[in-house]
């Protein structure tokens, strides 16, 4: 009985993050209809994704301590945000690339991608509207 009470209390106290699916979006004027998971990883890990000759996408990221950022990187790369942060420090301080510029939240991401033809970003699906193009969906059960 005592154990049942302890387990019940623990279940109640456990933080439950139920995120919607995350969608990767670009500006409709980019001419890009879809991307592979490999290409998205390359873009967000400072590598050349080889999309179209001469086309460069500028990635935007969520704040370093945000839940949606942690989810995005875990679902795409399988790694926690701390590993991604250390990886970007390596790229930055070897002069290879600068980390993606940060935006405040989902709404700011939507606005940034909508206003910048070269931008690529990601956000929770519930914030999606018709002004951006979805190029990849990271489903919640991935």
């Amino acid at each position: 009985m005592r154990y049942q009470i302890v387990i019940t209390v623990l279940i109640i106290l456990l933080p439950v993050y139920v995120l919607a699916d995350i969608v990767v979006v670009v500006n409709p004027n980019s001419g890009i209809a879809e991307l592979t998971r490999h290409q998205i990883i390359d873009i967000y890990m400072g590598r050349n994704p080889g999309i179209k000759k001469g086309q460069v996408l500028q990635p935007f990221d969520h704040p370093l301590n945000s839940v949606v950022r942690a989810e995005f990187y875990y679902k795409t790369t399988g790694k926690p945000a701390s590993v991604i942060n250390a990886y970007w420090a390596r790229l930055l301080f070897t002069g290879r690339a600068s980390p993606p510029r940060l935006v405040e939240d989902n709404k700011a991401m939507l606005k940034t991608v909508r206003e910048n033809p070269a931008a690529i970003g990601y956000l929770e699906q519930k914030y999606l509207n018709e002004h951006v193009t979805v190029v990849y969906t990271l489903e919640n059960n991935e």
């Binding site: 050349n48 790369t77 250390a86 420090a89 390596r90 070897t94 600068s98 940060l102």
Partner: protein, 412 residues
């Protein structure tokens, strides 16, 4: 006192950096200022046998130091044109020689003619190892300090010249090839003085293939020792003038100990695996040269396991000279020559490397831009195998040493 002042300086910069956290956010601005630092406390060595993490730092003889691992760096990137960027990195740390030339670690221009190619020219980081371009950035790697057996033998941090890099995704992974050339050098600390080394030409290439969970890398480089000034010069000079009739071996020993005009070849292979919270990294290298001090092999294997924000790890490493010339004691030396023979024998022992280390530690990612690390190293050094140490007396028996280090690493 000087050490504490430097430590307080870095502590102050760390606190100021915490208020400048948004500097990291300037990802696409034309002018970007970024920084990194480490506040470290290290206990290492013994009274007569000093441990160094690399040759540019003072050795520790059993004391506690805040200078060994502490470092602060700033990097400025300026996009001059669409495809041309200027980068300058300055690094403040304890050094054998503190001057402007050594503090400026990098200063180069990079030109990106296509999305697959980058050409750089100026002063750049030496790219021989997996960590070589960011060994000062503790936040970027797992351990409290680069593996001594592997990273100390080449304490070169930068070179002046050019590099050309080509990269693209191919079927198995992301491919990179880099070729470079220029000149390099270092001012390093030895037991009885400073050593100044200039090497040119310095040329080489490295190639790597990586995917999300793994990376393999191969390196080759070669260089000539163009200039060397060391505390052993008077002894070597004396050795070169010994008549063949009085000590036939002297000339052969001189040729092994003298560094100038000797070519060194460097080969290394490394791999990294990072999946399911396991992190495995290993590198092995071979250096071949007629200069005894750098004719060696070394390597390490590091295995880590992430549990939440903490990664626990262990590292095993070794460094060993590839040969061990001895003074032929079957010859009877005159009393006048005996002093020189003994000194040459001590020098042969002093440059010989034969040691290995096992390390245990953890890294705690306590903040998106800061990590706390602790590490214990247990090092075995074989008799006359202390070439990676600073010795106050000849190492005529096997010893074991313990190093404890606690670091706070941060970036901004």
């Amino acid at each position: 006192m000087k050490g504490l002042a430097f430590f307080h300086f870095i502590l102050l910069l760390a606190l100021l950096s915490a208020h400048q956290a948004n500097a990291f956010d300037l990802g696409t601005e034309r002018i970007r200022l970024s920084g990194f630092g480490t506040l470290g406390v290290t206990s290492a060595g013994e009274k007569k046998f000093g441990l160094q993490k690399d040759y540019i730092h003072d050795a520790q003889f059993g004391d506690v130091s805040v200078l060994t691992d502490s470092v602060f760096g700033l990097q400025l990137d300026i996009d001059l044109l669409k495809n041309i960027t200027a980068t300058v990195q300055v690094v403040a740390e304890d050094r054998a020689r503190q001057d402007f030339n050594n503090i400026v670690d990098w200063a180069y221009l990079s030109y990106r003619p296509t999305s697959n190619t980058v050409i750089r020219a100026g002063r750049m980081g030496i790219d021989l190892f997996m960590l070589s371009e960011y060994r000062n950035v503790g936040y970027a790697y797992l351990w409290t300090h680069p593996v001594v057996e592997f990273y100390k033998p080449i304490s070169l941090s930068h070179y002046e010249g050019f590099d050309f890099k080509y990269s693209r995704r191919i079927k198995p992974g992301y491919f990179e090839f880099k070729v470079y050339g220029g000149q390099t050098g270092s001012d390093i600390k030895l037991a009885n003085g400073d050593l100044n080394l200039r090497m040119r030409p310095f040329v080489g290439f490295n190639t790597s293939l990586e995917d999300n969970n793994w990376k393999v890398r191969l390196t080759y480089a070669t260089t000539d020792t163009a200039f060397i000034r060391s505390p052993a010069d008077p002894l070597l000079n004396e050795l070169s003038h010994v008549p063949q009739s009085s000590w036939p071996q002297a000339s052969a020993l001189y040729n092994r100990l003298i560094g100038v005009n000797k070519q060194t070849h460097y080969y290394s292979a490394g791999f990294l695996y990072d999946k399911h919270n396991w992190v495995v990294q290993s590198e092995f290298s071979l250096m071949t040269s007629k200069w005894l001090s750098v004719n060696m092999t070394n390597g390490y294997l590091s295995v880590g396991r992430r549990i939440g924000p903490v990664t626990f790890y262990t590292v095993g490493s070794y460094a060993k000279s590839r040969d061990n010339p001895r003074v032929d004691r079957t010859q009877i030396f005159t009393q006048g020559l005996e002093g020189l023979v003994s000194a040459a024998e001590d020098l042969l022992h002093a440059v010989h490397m034969d040691q290995n280390t096992v390390s245990l530690g953890f890294r705690w990612d306590l903040h998106p831009r800061a990590a706390l690390k602790a590490q214990w190293d247990h090092t075995w050094v074989r008799k006359h195998g202390g070439g990676l140490m600073l010795l106050k007396e000849p190492l005529d028996h096997n010893i074991t040493l313990n190093t404890f280090s606690l670091n706070l690493n941060f970036v901004f």
